[in-house]
């Protein structure tokens, strides 16, 4: 079934007439509210290129991801004019549990998907733009949801390796007759990588159970991950041009880390003729240590500028949501999330050994949210869904070390903030082939606890500075022919005060008003149900309104072309799923009036299923280009014999080299 058809079906669910339907809908996807929404089932996911679950998010129109930390650290995400850094603007849930880490020491909303084995992802729904009322904190540039499970019953063994000096072994089991959510999976993945400082090792374990209990669906899942990885960091363009370093080299002490995480989710769903209810409880434990050095020995000529960060957190939450399609249709829900964390940052030497402590704090963060939406059909072809979300954020932060100074008598700073986020969605389907979308709303991004230690500590609460984002979008999806689909979404996003956290100074900065105007457009060709060509264009003009300067780092033009085949029959017994993705990103503005180079690559994935065997071939960077994953302008000092320079130099992080990975899967 093609994604196009799935999208139409999804939209059709949203068009249920006010009269109750006798047909129950199980696990129905949430209806699209934007022409840029995409949904991928397992078959479609097999056509997406990528080395990890994180990279599946590239299916989101307009998203650019940068893996400057190698394979183990969270990616850096850029979407709709936002540099979300490591996820503070892109909210992702798995099985209803939030994956973004609140107040992670490395960055707010740290989004690390290394926890999730790729083979376990069953559906992925991506939604660029301001999200629905059921999405709260961090969903200002986009959101995504994932459901997990093993597609096939029985025992599955996958063994693979690649020219990138990596290997993979996955063991999976889904009992016969059991639902996809009942499974066991263990995975070892890692290797040396191509180039220096790219070694990584990931251990993943997952277990799930899915049962029908008295008309309710119960899904329970545990995911665990232990990853150790090196990070190649940055290289200067000058050193590359002079031949001092190779494109896939790394400066000494570039960094690495260890990431450990466990997530447990319990989900109870009940779907009836005219209503749907879901309860989700989740708990997560996190241990993260990172060391990095992006400037060499500029600020500390003797010992180096390394930094070592540690973060430990416990997260728990409860989420209740329901949809009713009776006389008064209502979508409503509530969520409580609690985070307790302990974090520190040290100055480290060139070998990554901690020297002196710069920052150390403990914090407790609570987010209580509730939402209400009323999807109304004043006319059969018109859906109007006004919605409102309210959140209350609370922080208790105690810093034992700040600015390198140990606090004699640490006080607990309290901060809180109420947030109101109205939303409005209009969907019009005047014909069977045309759908028009209008959405407007407000989203928010909470501040990291680390910046709230300026409270007076006497028990009085300070107000936590929340970034509020207002956005409006107009879009259309037009499918004039069975094999042709057109998508277009134009949006305008306004932030009255763009807040940034300056990690060096340990304080929030007020960037002033910003605006982002953009367009996502796509041409979807489906000559057959098994073949397709998606052409996507994303343009965005983001500006600081006071100075009228472009917003740095956010991509302004992104073009992607994806040729795919989904379970294309080959002969009588085999099927081919394949995807070829070509992408190109235009120059991005960099701070100081500089600009990055355009960049791009071509990746391929190919899967042949025949009976109990599958063969997967992935080709990264087919043309072998030295493409720039990230580009930055700042001063650094990597030659310890040279005087410290204060002149901004161009630094790059290398994109994935050309590599081929082959894996064989056997099922019994």
């Amino acid at each position: 079934m093609s994604p196009l058809t799935l999208t139409l079906l999804a939209a059709a669910w949203a068009e249920d007439p006010p009269e109750p339907s006798a047909e129950a809908v199980v696990e129905a996807p949430r209806p699209a509210q934007s022409a840029s929404d995409r949904r991928f089932d397992r078959a479609a996911l097999d056509t997406l290129t990528g080395r990890s679950t994180d990279e599946l998010l590239r299916g989101m129109p307009g998203l650019h991801m940068s893996a400057h930390g190698g394979q183990g650290k969270a990616y850096q995400y850029y979407l709709r004019g936002f540099d979300t850094v490591h996820g503070a603007g892109l909210a992702v849930r798995v099985e209803g549990a939030p994956l973004n880490e609140i107040s992670n020491v490395h960055g707010q909303g740290y989004l690390d998907l290394h926890l999730i084995p790729m083979s376990l992802v069953r559906t992925l729904t991506v939604s660029p733009g301001l999200a629905r009322p059921e999405e709260g904190d961090l969903a200002v540039a986009g959101s995504a949801t994932m459901d997990l499970g093993l597609e096939r019953e029985g025992l599955t063994v996958t063994v693979g390796g690649g020219t990138d000096r990596t290997g993979l072994v996955t063991l999976g089991h889904r009992p016969l007759g059991a639902a996809p959510g009942s499974f066991l999976l263990a995975e070892v993945q890692g290797g040396e990588g191509v180039g220096e400082s790219r070694a990584h090792r990931h251990l993943r374990g997952a277990a799930g159970v899915e049962r029908e209990v008295q008309g309710r669906t119960l899904r329970g899942m545990i995911l665990a991950h232990d990853g150790v990885f090196e990070s190649p960091g940055v290289l200067t363009e000058a050193d590359l041009a002079a031949g001092e370093v190779g494109f896939y080299d790394a400066y000494p002490g570039s960094g690495g880390g260890r990431s450990r995480r466990a997530l447990g989710v319990l989900r109870l769903s009940r779907v009836e003729a005219d209503r749907r209810r879901q309860w989700t409880a989740y708990a997560a434990a996190r241990g993260l240590s990172l060391h990095q050095n992006f400037t060499g020995a500029l600020y500390d000529p003797a010992l180096g500028d390394g930094a070592s960060q540690t973060h430990h957190a416990l997260t728990g939450g409860l989420r209740v949501e329901g949809q009713r399609r009776a006389a008064l249709p209502i979508d409503a829900g509530a969520e409580l999330r609690l985070d307790g964390l302990r974090q520190a940052e040290d100055h480290a030497d060139l070998a990554g050994e901690p020297l002196d402590r710069r920052f150390e704090a403990e914090a407790g963060v609570v987010n209580l949210g509730a939402w209400l939406a009323a999807p109304l059909h004043p006319l059969p072809w018109l859906l109007i869904a006004p919605g409102l979300r309210a959140d209350a954020l609370g922080y208790a932060v105690r810093a034992a070390v700040e600015g390198g100074v140990r606090v004699d008598d640490p006080q607990t700073a309290l901060a809180w903030a109420p947030v109101l986020s109205p939303k409005l969605t209009l969907t019009a389907s005047p014909t069977d082939t045309l759908r028009l979308f209008t959405t407007a709303g407000r989203g928010f991004r909470s501040p990291e606890a680390r910046g709230l230690t300026e409270g007076d500590g006497d028990g009085d609460s300070e107000r936590a500075p929340v970034t509020q984002v207002q956005s409006a979008e107009l879009g259309a999806s037009f499918d004039p022919l069975p094999w042709l689909g057109l998508r277009a979404a134009s949006y305008a996003t306004f932030v009255s005060n763009e807040l940034m956290f300056d990690h060096t100074a340990g304080r929030f900065l007020s960037g002033g008003p910003t605006r982002r105007l953009g367009l996502d457009a796509a041409l979807l060709l489906r000559p057959t149900p098994h073949l397709g060509l998606d052409l996507e264009l994303s343009l965005c003009d983001g500006k600081l309104r006071g100075a009228e300067t472009p917003l740095p780092y956010a991509p302004r033009a992104l073009v992607a072309a994806r040729l795919w085949s989904m379970r294309l029959p080959i002969g009588a017994t085999a099927q081919l799923s394949a995807g070829a993705r070509l992408w190109w990103m235009g120059p991005r503005p960099l701070p100081g009036g500089f600009a990055s180079q355009p960049t791009g690559a071509i990746d391929l994935t190919l899967r042949v299923d025949r009976g109990d065997l599958s063969l997967d071939l992935d080709l990264d960077n087919v043309l072998g280009q030295e493409w720039r994953d990230g580009e930055f302008m700042y001063a650094s000092r990597w030659d310890l014999n040279a005087a410290p320079s204060e002149l901004a130099a161009r630094h790059i992080t290398a994109g994935a080299p050309r590599a081929a990975r082959l894996s064989l899967t056997w099922r019994r």
């Binding site: 900065l509 960037g511 002033g512 264009l537 343009l539 965005c540 003009d541 600081l544 006071g546 100075a547 300067t549 472009p550 740095p552 991509p555 302004r556 033009a557 992104l558 073009v559 235009g586 120059p587 991005r588 503005p589 701070p591 100081g592 009036g593 500089f594 600009a595 180079q597 355009p598 001063a635 040279a642 005087a643 320079s645 204060e646 002149l647 901004a648 161009r650």
Partner: protein, 225 residues
């Protein structure tokens, strides 16, 4: 640094509307003195026999702005030691010993970025940084003088207002030293306090006045050709 393809730009109007600051190099020359005879004060004439200065690390600065939110006025921090100039827009790193009585010295090529300049700064290294010697004629009376100074500080705020463009790079940057100004704060009539037969920085307050003058911003001049 390559610009975007015009063809692609024609198709992707918004995406390519991003300017980049190109890099350029500017040759830097330190000028020797035209005349070994100085007249730093009324009734004082100096004939130099030694004039050596050790310089390091020339930096050209853009107009001051507050980080990524540019403000229109130059700013300094209201605290000694926190005076904030603009970001460094050009740099020539190195150490050079300049014989002011010899020939002009080519210091090298400064790597710069396009855009406005406002000020510059350079360092004097304590190796010693300044060695001046010769014969002083004060009110008709001659005596030898020798100044050996190690200020170990930066000369800051050298005026250098210009707009650099890679399309039309300047011919060069010239650094000159006005020793008449630099030595004008010294009281050349101070007696030979330590009675060593030579007027040196150890006599009276000469160390302070010599350092003050030789590190004074107007003593140093930068001009773009």
């Amino acid at each position: 640094m390559p610009r975007s393809s015009p063809f692609l730009c024609a198709m992707l109007l918004l995406g390519c509307a991003v300017d980049d600051r190109l890099a350029l190099t500017v040759p830097v020359t330190a000028l020797a003195l035209d005349d070994a005879t100085l007249r730093p004060a009324e009734g004082v004439s100096l004939t130099l026999t030694t004039a050596q200065i050790t310089l390091a690390d020339l930096r050209l600065e853009a107009p001051a702005a507050m980080s990524w939110r540019p403000r229109l006025l130059p700013v300094v921090y209201a605290h000694p030691g926190h005076d904030l100039a603009g970001g460094v827009a050009g740099e020539l790193l190195g150490e050079w010993t300049l014989d002011l009585l010899g020939d002009d010295l080519v210091l090298g090529e400064a790597l710069c970025y396009e855009g406005p300049l406002a000020t510059a700064r350079l360092s004097l290294l304590p190796t010693p940084a300044l060695r001046l010697a010769g014969l002083a004629n004060v009110d008709g009376v001659e005596r030898p003088f020798s100044l050996t100074l190690s200020p170990d500080q930066e000369i800051t705020g050298l005026p250098l207002e210009a707009e650099l463009s890679a399309a039309s790079p300047p011919g060069g940057l010239r650094l000159s030293v006005d020793l008449n100004h630099g030595l004008s704060f010294i009281d050349w009539r101070t007696s030979d306090t330590d009675a060593d037969g030579t007027f040196t920085e150890a006599d009276g307050a000469t160390l302070n006045t010599a350092l003050f003058g030789l590190t004074s911003t107007p003593t140093w001049r930068l001009t773009l050709e």
